[in-house]
Every structure is written in C-alpha cells, then in structure tokens.
Amino acid sequence: MTILEFVEGPGFYVSGTIFALAALWRLAGIIRLGKKKDIAPARGSAFTGFLKGNLRHFFPRGLFAQRTWMHLLGGYGFHLGLFALLLFAAPHIAFAEKLWGIELWPAMPRWAFIITAEVAFAGLIVLWVRRFSDPVMRLISDWDDHIGSWLTFLVMLTGCLALQESHDALRALHMGFVDIWLIYFPFSRLMHSFTFFLSRGATGASYGRKGMTP
C-alpha cells in the first residue's frame, strides 16, 4: 500500500470517523449542559431571540464595522472562500463522488477556483496577523488557536500546491494534512464551525426572552 493509498483509504476513514464521532460528542455535551431555569416572566420569545441572535451577528453594528473592517473582510473572505473550495473544487467533488459512489453537483471552473483560493488565503493571513498583532487578540490567543490556523493554512496550501495533479506525493501530502486536520478539529477551537450558532443562539435566546434585541 502506498502512502497515497493509505491517506486516502484507511487513514481518511479513521480520521473521518474520529472527526464525526468526536464532533457529535462535543455538541451533545454542550447541549446537555442545559441552562438554569429562568423564573422571571418571559417578555418575548426565546426562540425568536435564538434566530435573531444568529442572523444579526452576521452584520456588525456601524461603529464596530468601521473599527474592524479589515477583520470583517478577512473573516468573510476566508470563511466563504474555504467553504466554496471545500464544496465546489473539482478535485474535492471527484474525490467525494468516488468515495460515496454518487453523482454530486458541478464543480466550479478553474479560474473561479484560483480567485476563490486567493480570497481565502488573503483572508486567512489577515486573520492570523491580527491574532498576534492586536494586543487583545494576542492576550486571548493560545497555542490551540495558532495550531488550528496553521493546520488549516497547510491543508489549503498543500491542496493548491497539488493543483497540477501531476505528482502523487503532493496529493498524498495534502491528504495527510487533511487527515491530521480532521483528527485535530473536534478537540480544538476549530469546533467553532459547529458551536458558533449555539453560543450566538444562547445569547440571543436569553435576550429574546427578556424582550430585548440581541
């Protein structure tokens, strides 16, 4: 078995399973924590607050937007770019179709891939630079944040380095980092991909029940 066959075969299955089970376990753990019962009479809908809390935080308030426009651009650029690459890159779709044996959606053209990758990389670099340049961000960041950023960067970078699809070694390198990333993901702050809606929703629900706009 070659390294490529391993990282795309058993390695990928094991890391994917760890990713799925551990992420579910953490989500279930957070939900099971529950919430202390609020004995005050409700002045609004907690559920509406949950939804509002999630949706409204996609758009920053005016003053914050002015002060953090670079962070805002970087954040949206990176996350949207990453999802677009993950879901619409031709090699990813081909890999998933081969893995599951079903036909998926059409891939984005190569020029769109390049532009999306540019945006995603630009955003990730801005976010990482802000993490160690901003005094507050530097204070609240630890190794977990940096490892998560670097692993994501390396996954993206090795993917792009293998874009020519002419060497198995480059593909194996990319898939190797994907496997590591999948294993690290559920035990790190990368889990914010799944938990952000819970935290935003909890705050929103609390505000909504009190009749306040989250």
Binding site: M70, A117, V129, S133, C160, L161, A162, A169
Partner: protein
Amino acid sequence: MQRFQNLFRATALMAAALLLTGLTWVTWADPTHAQSSVRPPGEALPLGATDGSPSNALGDRSDADVWRQIRGADGEGGALPSTSPGRKVPVYEDILRELQGPVARDNSSSATNTRLIQMLGDNWRQVRLDYILPYAGWVLAGVLGILVLFRLLRGKIKIREGRSGKYIPRFSMAHRIAHWYLASSFIIMGITGLIILLGRPLLAPYIGKEATAIMASASLQGHNLFGPVFILALLIVTFRFMKGNFFQWADFKWIIKGGGLLGGHASSNHYNFGEKTWYWIVVIVGLVMSATGLLLEFPWLTEQLIWHQMSTILHAAGAILLIAIAMGHAYIGSIGMEGSIDSMLRGEVDENWAKEHHDLWYEEVTGKKIDHKTGATLDAKAEAAE
C-alpha cells in the same frame, strides 16, 4: 486537407533531416577535412571559421557564413539577408523553404519562421545560465555571510540606556496587518521562487531529480497562486506606508554619520534613510516584479519574445535584490536590534529606543526636547541638574 498538410510537414522535416545529415556527411567525408584532422600541412593557412563554428563544411565556400545564417545572420536574431554578396549559400534557404511549407506559420512568440535557430532564445539562455543562476546563489550566500559576520563583530545592538518601561505608539493595527500581510506572502513567494530558480542546480544533486521535479511543480503552483496576493499586499503597503517615507534633509545627515554605525548619534524622523530606501525599493522593485510576474503568468499578453525573456531576467534579478535586502531588514528588525520588533508586534516602542533611533520623531510625538548628540532628554538633564 489537414492530413495532406501534416504529411507535407513530415516530408519537409524528413527532407531537412536528410539535408543536415548530408551536410554532416560532406563535412566528415571531405578529404581536406580528413587530411587536416590527421596532419595539417606545415605551411597551411588556417581556413574556415575561428569562432568555434564547424570548419570547411562546404569546401572552398565559407561554412561559417552558413552557420551564421542558420543562427540568425547577425548573431542577434535580426533579419536574415537572403544571401551574402558574392557568396550565395543555398543550403539555409533550401532548408528554411522546406520547413516553412506552403502554409504561413502563426506569428507566435516562439515561432521561428524566419530562422532555424532562435538566437534571442539562445542568448537569453546564456545570460540565465552564466549570470543569473550563479550570481543569485552567491549574492544570497554573501548577504547571509555578511549578516553572520556583522553579528559576530557587533553583536546584538542594545538600547544604550536600557528599556525605560514606557511605551509610545508607533504603528497602527492597519500598518501592522499590512506589513505582515506583505511579509508572509513575500516569504512564500521567495521560497517557492528560489526553488523554481535554483532547484535544479542546487537541490537536484542532493535530493534527486524526481524530488526536485515534485518541489518545482508544487512551487510553481504556489508561486502563481500567491502572486496576486503579493500584489494586493504590495499595493496596500505602498499607500499605507507612503506618509513619512519621502526623503528629508535629516536623511542626508544620517548618511554622513553612517546611520550611527560609524559612531555618534544619527538623528532621524519616523523612518530613517535606510528604512525609506527600503520602502522605495520594495515599491519600485515590487511593482516591476508584479508586472513581470503577470507577464510570465499570462504570456498571451504579448507575442514579443523579448518581453518574456526580459521579464524572466528582471523578475529573477529583482527577486534576488529584494530577498537579499529583506534578509538584512528581517535581521535588524528582529534579533539584531533590541526593541525593534516591538514596533511591528505590539505597535509601540520603548521610549529609550525611540530617543536613540528616531529622536526627531520622538520629539514630534512627545513634545520633549532631546540632545541630538547623545539622544538624552534635555528635560531630564535639567531635572537632574536641579
């Protein structure tokens, strides 16, 4: 129709090959040549070319002319004269006619429809092999050596009065993000570019051709991908850092004093002469790198071969220049000088560092006066005297 054209081209190529084979055979079968290669007559005059061209290919006719015409007449890739006066040499024209065929060739940059050997390409290859590749490695190794020597002789440059513990803001968050954004993309571009440029002569002997090919393929993809990111970062830095980077009178005095390296105190504003020069080199050379890089990534932008060749040479030379200076910049901005990294990490610098290295700027932002010979605060001296 296409099949006939292909057939004709194949026939033409075969004819050309036969002609060249015949030419070679004539050269070696020529008794004059055979005799001269065994034992030259004692009083014989040197015949044929003295510039390294094969000799006496056409007997009493000058074969050097044939080779000159094949290589592009004037040796510079210029237009080929149909014949030399008094020395009509049909060989080249015959071969060319056979190669060109009945269909007009497209005028792409690599088309050689007017000559057999593209001398422009040969000259470019020579420049690349003889100058760019060897000097690139030596320049970078030399700069690294100078930095090591500087470190050994001078050591880490300390803040003369030590850290005061008081900090004054120097760079905003936007400045720092712009700087590190450019720095990170520059590092990626630099590493991948050096692998592309020097991988074959420097890496292949040690890690093998296959591994070098893999690294080169990966580097090319990475280089092309991060190129636009670098351009974007360069434009942001250009505008964000422009204020304060125009040369002033204090910079002249700074040069006279060797930036303080020759002893004494060299006053400077927000940026000293070295930093300003570095800024303009980054801007100007960076823009040249961007333009030439775009031309290399999108070669269809021009059909002129000379632009592509100039682009590769300018791109490589500019890259070596930027990387060489960036090494010095990175050293003095981090481990080489106490307190300098704070400006780009924290956005603020120690007051004593500011007084020592950017006293005019310190006076401007704090309103305090400084003794420009020593860098000490005059108010503090007055207080001490009282």
